[in-house]
Symmetry: C2
Subunit: 392 residues, 2 copies
């Protein structure tokens, strides 16, 4: 059912235009995957998502297995029926949340910015899996490769991910290497489970680990190439700085079997996307576009920026009487119907509609960015899109 085809390869980089075929339709790549953590994109209906040009959304195995439980979603007919989203869906393996929430600091720990003093919920890691406490009701939960696969099969997303231990930035090379080897073993168990119990419609991605260590990344990529994964997801710690991340993504993707689909986990800055695309990344996911929206930030093209690093902050008093749309270039529902002054007012009045309207804009904008990238690749001129979106 799942098929990845390459339509065009650039001569200037590893960038490529592709098409991911799934049981719920086609994804034109490069594409952005929006986060619908708990079986919904916060404050947005599936109709609004679709109207904004969305191709695919992601839900989190970890959150859904705790609430409402994968059995409930299975008995609803799977995530597609439960959420009303009839296009392609992606679920992660749960590993990232178990380990990053478990270490007490969500993404911050993976990204090397250290502990945030939150309560640790991860109790034990064994060769078999991880034992943690549910943040919903305190229950002890064991998550193994087999359990992650079972949950992901219950959820029924089109693209799913092998269960992995996601090691923090601060772990040493020995621990990172040990975890990587364990992840390879867990990945094989996931492949076996899917082969034995799957319905043939779900694609499984193997996760490439190895942290910031070049030789480990190489080993992980090569091992994954030798397995029957439908594609790959670049995961684990990508270093502390953007430059470091770019380097790791570049080298890791260079070693991957180019006939298969590649996802970059949790990265979605505009410049990072342009960099990733040129490294051969096909899809990206990140909570930032919708999270930023809920805090009042709108993603805009370079020419509309005011030195704000890829976004404008509608909370700013400068927008109080601004009767222009959020972006004059944008064809989204928000920009077609409302002014910056109105959004500013809603933010000041603490109205959740502000987050909804800005989420619609940011989602449309990210989809427009990916469309522009695809068009620029077809014309073999990604530089033009970079100039329009990022500046020099």
């Amino acid at each position: 059912m799942f098929k990845f085809e390459t339509l065009f390869r650039s001569d200037r980089s590893r960038a490529r235009l592709g098409r991911v075929h799934t049981a719920h339709g086609v994804i034109e790549t490069p594409a952005f995957i929006f986060c619908g953590t708990k079986a919904n994109v916060k404050g947005i209906t599936v109709d609004q998502l679709e109207a904004a040009g969305t191709q695919i959304i992601l839900s989190n195995t970890y959150h859904l297995m705790l609430q409402p439980g994968s059995e409930t979603i299975k008995s609803a007919g799977g995530l597609h029926k439960f959420t009303g989203w009839n296009k392609p869906m992606f679920t992660d393996s749960g590993g990232f949340q178990v380990f990053s929430l478990g270490y007490g600091g969500v993404a911050s720990e993976i990204k090397g910015s250290g502990q945030r003093g939150k309560k640790r919920t991860l109790l034990k890691i064994t060769d078999d899996g991880a034992i943690f406490r549910s943040y919903v009701d305190g229950q002890l939960i064991t998550l193994t490769p087999e359990r992650s696969m079972q949950v992901q099969m219950d959820l029924g997303a089109d693209i799913i991910v092998a269960f992995d231990e996601c090691t923090p930035y601060h772990t040493n090379k020995f621990y990172t290497a040990t975890a990587m080897e364990k992840n390879q073993c867990w990945g094989k168990r996931c492949l076996n489970i899917l082969k034995e119990y799957g319905n043939g419609s779900q694609a499984l991605l193997g996760v490439i680990h190895g942290g910031v260590y070049e030789d480990l990344r190489y080993e992980s990529a090569m091992a994954a190439n030798n397995e029957a994964y439908d594609g790959f997801a670049i995961g684990g710690s990508l270093g502390k700085t953007r430059r470091e991340m770019w380097e790791i993504v570049n080298m890791t993707s260079s070693w991957l079997d180019r006939s298969r689909y590649v996802h970059l986990l949790g990265i979605g800055g505009i410049e990072d996307i342009f960099h990733g695309v040129q490294c051969g990344i096909d899809t990206f996911d990140c909570v930032a576009p919708t999270r930023m929206a809920r805090h009042g930030a709108a993603i805009v093209k370079r020419k509309e920026l005011r030195g704000d690093n890829g976004r404008i902050n509608l909370n700013n008093t400068a927008f109080r009487g601004d009767m222009d749309p959020v972006s004059s270039d944008c064809d989204c529902y928000t920009c077609k119907n409302f002014t910056r002054a109105y959004i500013h007012h809603l933010l000041k009045a603490k109205e959740i509609l502000a987050g909804t309207l800005l989420s619609i804009h940011n989602i449309r904008t990210m989809n427009q960015l990916m469309e522009d990238i695809r068009n620029s690749l077809a014309a073999d001129n990604i530089a033009a899109a970079i100039a329009e979106w990022c500046g020099e």
Copy 2:
């Protein structure tokens, strides 16, 4: 521009079918007016409002004069342009909020349930108006009949309300009578201002006061009949119990000039609406349908109730695996696309989409209720609609 016409009068009661013509379209009455307090209905876009069959929404003068300020909305081209809602709009006078918030207890005080210990913001009431502190920034604000009219003219709603002191339940007859007389005087000032400065498109409602005192209600109604109001709004304290409220609404509306449009302020229970319609009330407004939605309650017809007083609470664990729509009778977006189990999950996960989806359902349901009432009136058989919606 504004015109109220009666299409049909029942022989069995004062119930009537009507049509309110405004500069932004026609309202078929009896109708429900949804609260969009701060220039939006919480969590709902204007497209969603319209798709749910909404005819008219209300914004609050008090809130909008403090944030973003009526000048901002005026310079946006008025409330219709600012909010994107191109159908009829209603603004209240600000009086209810100044006095009820000012006395420290919002509606609770008007409704006789006593102080809630909130900080008083009302500093002084004179014959000229009221002085209060802005809840936004602590500024001293003077609201007079002239200022309320100016703000409401800036906002540009189709139906506006004369500025009034809204006396609490616990005031004695002497105070209620004095306030009522002052309100008559303020009403005349509002009429004068609108006549002198208005653009001719806004309809002004005079507010009927007199609290729980029959003779004062009579006096207030008669005085209003003698003024050039386009219609009336029944306001002030309507007593402590539902029965008392029904009695006050019944007698007050019986004395009003029947050629003019009548609104009942702040009342929106299903039984109260049926009662009000039979007293000759044309429109109702209430925050309950959308507020209840945000707390997980869905308004349904009698046959779908489980002894829950006109609503079902989707937070209830009973709905965890319930794959039916919120209401099998309802044609709203929510009922067409989602299950009770999904809404229950969103509520448990504290996702704001739950409030949005339930608001859409409750808005559609209230509009459906009013449609059913209009159809039953046309067939001169309101009893059938009562049986369907309320039971015996």
